[in-house]
Amino acid sequence: MSENNAVAKASEPRRDEAALLPPTDVIEDAGGITLYADLAGVPKDKLSLQVEADTLTIEGEVALDLPEGMESSHAEVSLPRYRRVFTLSRELDPGKVSAEFNQGVLKLRIPKAEHAQPRRIEIQVA
């Protein structure tokens, strides 16, 4: 994974290539944000996750086991790549992102920075 990320960072992002937006769920709780993205057809080594400043980029190349000489007659997934970019808010800690990728579903956990954890403020009654 780390090697692939390094390669992906070295090459310029290919913004000109059309891509599918993967369907995504984003859930926020007190401790941080959990993001799920559906990237069907992307093997683990073709998935690239980047956090640069406050931008999170999810990219994946679809690699299907296509028989030689196959002619497509109907395609609903008509582009071979997914890309989606999110802007992270300041209270999130991009250094502590953890990711799981299982059968085409990406699960990202982005915790909130220590100082942004909710604190209950006691109200003093004078």
Binding site: A18, A19, L20, L21, P22, P23, T24, D25, V26, I27, E28, D29, A30, Y36, D38, L39, A40, G41, V42, P43, A63, L64, D65, L66, P67, E68, G69, M70, E71, S72, S73, H74, A75, E76, V77, L79, R83, N102, Q103, G104, V105
Partner: protein, 143 residues
């Protein structure tokens, strides 16, 4: 055009799609099944020897997938359960499909119902059906 696509695209791809859909909507004989898209998204293709169907159904236990072939109709059905939103959490974006699904594809006449295999990998179900032997092109030698 009338439904949100399951796989939305970026702006340029969207403009391209818009152009194609405009073209389709002025077509006087649109398909009986319309332009709707369901889950899982399907790609269908073939070679002279096989018919290949790809169903993009990520995050499903393959044991719960139900693939049936009845009278030339291939049915892919199942249920996708996704983690419930915990209490005191906020759902900001909710785009992923959840619940029961069923899609049906009619196979060409030369598909062999006895030679069918299905594989699930990286969230894609690949169903491959061999074409019947007698439907294969044969060169006839001239005496």
């Amino acid at each position: 055009m009338y439904y949100r696509s399951l796989f939305p695209r970026d702006l340029f791809a969207e403009l391209d799609r818009l152009q194609r859909e405009l073209q389709q909507s002025v077509d006087p004989n649109p398909s009986i099944r319309g332009l709707t898209r369901g889950f899982p998204a399907l790609n269908v293709g073939g070679t002279p020897k096989t018919v290949d169907i790809y169903a993009f159904a990520p995050g499903i236990d393959p044991a719960t997938l139900d693939v049936q072939l009845v009278k030339g109709m291939l049915t892919i059905a199942g249920e996708r359960k996704i983690d419930p939103v915990p209490e005191k959490a906020t759902l900001h974006i909710d785009e992923r499909f959840a619940g029961r699904f069923r899609r049906v594809v009619s196979l060409p006449d030369d598909a062999d119902p006895n030679a069918i295999e299905a594989k699930y990998k990286d969230g894609v179900l690949h169903v491959r059906i061999q074409r019947k032997e007698e439907a294969q092109p044969r060169r006839i030698t001239i005496q």
